[in-house]
Symmetry: C2
Subunit: 344 residues, 2 copies
Amino acid sequence: MKATIFRAPGDVRVENVPDPSLREPTDAIVRVTHACICGSDLWFYRGQTPFEPGWRTGHEWMGIVEAVGAAVRTIKKGDRVIAPFAFSDGECEFCRKGLQTSCLHGGFWGTTNDGGQGEMVRAPYADANLVVLPPSLENDAVLLKSTLPLTDVMGTGHHAAVCAGVRKGATAAVVGDGAVGLCGVLAARRLGAERIIVLGHQPGRMKLAQKFGATDLVMSSGQEAIGQVLEMTKGGAQAVLECVGTSDALNSAIGVCRPGGRVGFVGVPHHSTEMDFRRMFYHNIALQGGVAPVRAYIPDLLADVLAGRLDPSPVLDMTVDLAGVPQGYKAMDSRQAIKVMVTV
Amino acid sequence: MKATIFRAPGDVRVENVPDPSLREPTDAIVRVTHACICGSDLWFYRGQTPFEPGWRTGHEWMGIVEAVGAAVRTIKKGDRVIAPFAFSDGECEFCRKGLQTSCLHGGFWGTTNDGGQGEMVRAPYADANLVVLPPSLENDAVLLKSTLPLTDVMGTGHHAAVCAGVRKGATAAVVGDGAVGLCGVLAARRLGAERIIVLGHQPGRMKLAQKFGATDLVMSSGQEAIGQVLEMTKGGAQAVLECVGTSDALNSAIGVCRPGGRVGFVGVPHHSTEMDFRRMFYHNIALQGGVAPVRAYIPDLLADVLAGRLDPSPVLDMTVDLAGVPQGYKAMDSRQAIKVMVTV
């Protein structure tokens, strides 16, 4: 089969690799139909986080089941399934608590596992991880596209909103206008936020944020942006979603948070973080979040997507085929695209 | 009157200053009978945080009301009262939420306000801040001493336990064996923790921790201590109380926290903090806490002290009179004393 391989910073290639096969009775083999390139893929693409030459790429994908192991109970050949970006055993203490990303036997797609940016994936613990979509979606390309972001960005934006404690009537601030930040806007609106302030820089993305439910756009930076939000909220937003993963973004999030409020953080920290700990201390600002247990959120979010109440698909503003994956990375790296969909 | 004045690092003096007088109709004047020296007083005493020569010291005190302003309703001359270490107006958004330390018109005793380490205090917003004790305490020196830590350390330890999410049956870890850490042990036990692991270094204090309810003592440092706690808990404590305020302590707290758990932090951060943000991210460890809204906690904790169910007084292991305050600072700075009570 063909799969995307990381060769060096700035260099990902679609190459021939061996087809996967069932190894454990709990495995499934899935033929990938749709995948994405993630903002977090750019960290290794830019050489900012360690990644070995030869490793597979892609952690967001959906497809059709080709084969299942003898112990698989809920998934069968021919099912269309989506997967969360991290797999888990579904049985350990953390899986039972809905924190599947801390699973004692879990992992992420890509690296030494099959990646989503390829033709097929061996999926461990198929029952625990794969979520079957209704057969009616097979002829609905629009709804399939709306479902795809549940594999990561929509669940991650939702995690930020949940961790920030967004509630009905809340004032929320979202730091970041990337795909996760935009999904954070959708999530905050879905959880009932009345006012949603977005801090970002890209006019096109900010326009989409507005379409998604943002009520206020702040396009300045650093202390100026913080000052603006503190003024417009008379002291800060109760719930802040940090959707970038840099020190600046985290400190902006802490800076615009109201005393006693919460920062929900989901931006992947890709370097050492110096944070404004004094403000957190003197104003009892809580920090909660991390890698999103997307598996726990798929059922609820999927119900809303299928019912037409939630549609994160506009974040997928460019489509490539598998051969076009390297071009997709380039487009995201240069910010020509918010997020790239790969049709395999 | 006499009051303690900061002159320079290592140099506090009891000097003559003007008597305070009622300035606002909501003020009370209180004659101090008991005060404390706080671990956080050592930061300015050691020159580690900015403090102006001439500023007053002492934020933990109780006493007898001498006079009240015309608008004071619930406090009268002759009442014995205790005060939280931060005063607040009792009316703003944050006071109504129980976060009096973020009060829009609040402040701390000492600096340019009267301090507790002196003969008298002008107490603003007397109705909001002062809590009247039963007259029966007047002849009960033991119970008076048990009540005094509610002004700060006992409420602060309780805040750490609340923010860490300690519940019935929980495994809690307490980082720090100072007065706040010891009160954190009492608080964790009071909230129902079944196992309480204390990380500390001073044998005498660790013995007291055990008396207060600690079930496990860890006296190693850094990664060794983290490893020990992870092993004895098979993966970390769900609730961790950070009661020191250094980077090392914070990172130990994050290090021993179970995935999905919470670090309740109350140690005053007295320098820039580099924290193990990656572990927080990859294991969804939440950080919540800050300066404790002790005023909100006094009623509940006081009820338990008066009923004999809670007694933090053993942390006050040395007593001086007002003239002895400089000696008290020396004793705490050299760790001869855990915490010093001042009888005025």
